[in-house]
Symmetry: C2
Subunit: 118 residues, 2 copies
DNA sequence: CCAATCGGTTTGCTATGGAAACCTATTGGC
DNA sequence: GCCAATAGGTTTCCATAGCAAACCGATTGG
């Protein structure tokens, strides 16, 4: 037992860095893209997300799974003509999570910008 | 060979989503925090980053390694009194990469905000 | 001089991200 | 009507990333 305790200080001055509060489920590049696009429209097609974000179908499918499991999006399967089609929409939780992420990012950007001379 | 080709459309209308251009090395939560803090001061101590970002030393060490390998930060080892100490500072490339990230994030935030009723 | 602390690096496990393979319709040629 | 090709996704599998624990060398305190 000669090692350090190796845990961060509990932080008494209370003012965690904005990056600390980011949720990895939301912050991840592709998922942030999905949430953003889903926020713009009420419902989005799987294929639309795929082309907009330049993803393989498999990759998109995985990320949607993560978001659905986290309760941030709702997946609906139906038909467009006779072809099967999948639509994605934000849940209330998803909307809130995106808002939270945006808030943190704004804080972070503000800190960078104020030390920029601009 | 009955499967789909499984690659995204080349995108003719040319206007990739902001999330598409984010660099994972920079965008990652902790590394974004490191770059942001390093941007505020000219040089930062390892221990300062550790407490601000609430990380274990091992975790921080790894992420610094990634950033250094990418050429985004410079690591300097020296002494504070007789204790060894490590300082981190942004390189020009690091500063540029952070600026790029911030630009993308602003675009992304703008899209979310304009569809917010606010 | 021995134990504990500081300041960090390396090791090792787990989970995530991504492409390729696969699967089930549907549509188009002949 | 039958076979090949395409649409639209899901599942499998591998490589890497992220994280904590173990470790390591100096320094300081009792």
């Amino acid at each position: 037992m000669t090692g350090s305790v190796d845990t961060p200080a509990p932080d008494e001055t209370e003012a965690p860095h904005p990056a600390t509060g980011l949720d990895d489920v939301v912050h991840q590049r592709i998922r942030l893209g999905i949430l953003t696009i889903a926020h713009e429209a009420r419902r989005v097609e799987f294929g639309f997300l795929r082309t907009q974000l330049e993803l393989t179908a498999g990759n998109l499918s995985k990320h949607l799974g993560v978001l659905e499991t986290a309760g941030l999006v709702q997946i609906e399967k139906g038909y467009a003509g006779r072809r099967g089609r999948t639509w994605i929409s934000l849940t209330a939780a998803g909307d809130a999570a995106l808002a939270e992420e945006i808030t943190r990012l704004k804080q972070l950007i503000a800190r960078v910008d104020t030390t920029n001379g601009q």
